[in-house]
Symmetry: C2
Subunit: 514 residues, 2 copies
Amino acid sequence: MNGAETLVKTLLQSGVDVCFANPGTSEMHFVAALDRHPEMRCILCLFEGGVSGAADGYYRMSGKVAATLLHLAPGFGNAFANLHNARKAHSGVVNIMGEHADYHLRFEAPLKGDTVGISQAISHWTRVTAEPGAVAGDGAAAVQAARGRNGQIATLILPANMAWEAAEAASVAPAPLPLRRPSQAEVQAAAAALCQPGAILMVDGAALWSDIGLMAKRVAKAAGARLLQPFFAARFRRGAGTVRMERMAYRIEDNCALLAGAPALVLCGTQLPAGFFAYPGKPSTPVDPATHVIQLCDRDMDIDWTIAALAAELGEAELGPEDFVPHDLPDLPRGAMRLEAVGEAMAAMMPEDVVLVDEGVSSSRFLASALARARGHDVLTITGGSIGFGLPAAVGAAVACPDRKVVVLEGDGSGMYTLQSLWTMAREGLDVTVVVFANRGYQILRDELSAVGVTDVGRNAVRMFDVVEPTLDWVALAQGHGVEGVRVTDIDGFVATFRTAMEQRGPRLIEVVC
Amino acid sequence: MNGAETLVKTLLQSGVDVCFANPGTSEMHFVAALDRHPEMRCILCLFEGGVSGAADGYYRMSGKVAATLLHLAPGFGNAFANLHNARKAHSGVVNIMGEHADYHLRFEAPLKGDTVGISQAISHWTRVTAEPGAVAGDGAAAVQAARGRNGQIATLILPANMAWEAAEAASVAPAPLPLRRPSQAEVQAAAAALCQPGAILMVDGAALWSDIGLMAKRVAKAAGARLLQPFFAARFRRGAGTVRMERMAYRIEDNCALLAGAPALVLCGTQLPAGFFAYPGKPSTPVDPATHVIQLCDRDMDIDWTIAALAAELGEAELGPEDFVPHDLPDLPRGAMRLEAVGEAMAAMMPEDVVLVDEGVSSSRFLASALARARGHDVLTITGGSIGFGLPAAVGAAVACPDRKVVVLEGDGSGMYTLQSLWTMAREGLDVTVVVFANRGYQILRDELSAVGVTDVGRNAVRMFDVVEPTLDWVALAQGHGVEGVRVTDIDGFVATFRTAMEQRGPRLIEVVC
């Protein structure tokens, strides 16, 4: 047995049995070890951004840590952006980054780079294995770290000779360290604050999609407080049957209005709301300066325990039908293309329990109110704001949930970042429907330019915001990756195409010209 | 005038007039400033890896520094891999990375990340602008740094409020610091060593494509020494009329044979040769342990001066026809598909002065001996070994050399990393012919697995090396990006298609099924 094989065995014995991979020449022994363990499911992505985004989507929907296999320094660089989104989602990921044999590092080989530096710029936990006998223990520690604090990025840097030299035994990841909890006094103070009229309880994490959310709703109702969720969330439940919560908006002005006048804001599993960016003359946070902010429980603390502790203080009110989103599907729309109508059509036809990956950027907001009337579904958002999230995350979500339909709302600008994930959908036969909004440009940038006060847009800006001359042909792009694509230019076409997608299995792309 | 505008003016006044860009929401004021300066040529890439790779190719062919415009933290992450290749090529690049307004950084906005950490993991020079009045000076210093030491990666991190607040004056980049030179005693020792029979002078940098190479040849001939170039080079001249040099190989075994028995190896503008990776039981460097290695001049030192100093010691021999590659074009091949024949066809038809970007990975070696017989051309190689280099570098080379035909040798695995660059070729009407070798997988990994001694390849490995089920359709991928594509399956088809590509202008893709 060699170091690489002890690592594969350690991952498997620790319950990590999916590996999203884009191996390079430094990971050959690890690949050979994977070969001897077919119980590890290896999923090839044709770009490392697809690897890290898939691990993120997989964790969000399964709660399980996946391994990634990444090439040294620049390969990890390619994974960086979606690790950023994963980090902001508190997704647990174990990265295995190859590295030169340690004795080779004194030479200037082409691929030599700052593996530790780039890892530390994004990972919560980084370790370089120093001897072959330590590979298993380091792998177990990486899994433990990834599972800790409600999900972290853990990166194990594996010099090639650690992988190929002899090693003895595999290991098993210890349980993650216990989560921190607020003190009883802090809970009591928060409970008292929530009883003030107009106070807000803001929650995140599993409270947005699991039964913890039910308890949060009962607690808020008992206190007479508003219940609020952030705009960007790793996962939240939406549609018929969902616990009613207010959701924050994207624009800082809207959030200022939403939060104005609240006497207290209790943060439970989340952090102080902030603007996506700063804008001249606008505040950085939408929180009313007069509001008493109580940071009760951070995102990496024990959210479940904290909500239960609030319940012990405040009691739990009975919930009635008014506390849940009713079953109220929109009618099927007809006629010319309108984004609102796309939302109505999707809401009318999506089956129960869709996983909806939302990277529609500027388009999604026009669909949101209709989709809130759909059958109950889970929404994954682009938590770190780094585009190129949608298609990879859909791969991971589909691997995590093989019996659920995955739907992606994708911008044409953002989809281009990691379009290689379409191939993995085809390779793995994943049940993913990709809806690309072809507005032929970075609409969000047109909006942001105006938000910072620039209204006179000239040729250089237009040419950096518009993806025209030539237009992208998403049907051809899909076909190139082995995925069937259809272009629709009116709502009737969308309805027919989306219906087919919902009735059949397998990957499919719909280009919505809008 | 605001900070952003002082930066654009500073870049222009310093001679930086090309900006490869993928702006995000943090760079809006810079975009607005670009709008007021149409003399800055802005070129949009649909992914940041295309941006950094284009800046690399542009520098290699023009010797000029381009600016890149990149989004904060994860956007820079997407550019990382091709900055790695640029760094190893000693290409000068000025990155402008946006950043949150400094007062916004105390909040946890989605895109907040370790901008300094990721920059320092790859840049030679990193600075965060601290006040609006410093933007111009920082920009000038960045250009100076990028031009220093024969080309460096310089990254200016620009908080949004530094861009939008008022600032006075633009600046001009000072001349780069003088290059270090070896001492006269070191030159004399190297000159003496070169006079031993079998001694080797190994050169890099401009010696591989400019008149400096002529002088190096005369010096080596005067000393009776062998003249050698590295395998990976930012740029080298090849084909008819080129100064004859030996070129190192990819495989460590071949390089061991090439260097065996040399009494001395004088390194001038290059570093100690090393294996691409370490392999069990093989040496890390191919240099004969008995060889006296003299590190006369590093890649970031004054190579021109050093070769001239050697000439002053050793004299310059007259060169004869035997010192140059003769004009000896191959005949046009016919028949079934063979990579060697693809090389012959290209060599027969490529016009003088093609820029050939070589990311053919495992395929290129079969073309190399034929291409050495082509008309004189410049070759750009993947200096950092990080795939996804070819298509972006071709964009930059074509922008630098609008009157020269650019040809890319591209692997199907590597091409998928940054295929978005095809769109930029179409948008800018660049005269690039892309030849994709569709061997349907990562052939280099199949080779490397065998090089580390693994011969029994199982299902997990096969599924990570083979890009089949489904196969990629490069003609559709090209079409999706607005580029005409043709698939060829025999040599006659290749000859006809490549002839058309050489006769016409504009981007074109040829998928060679091999």
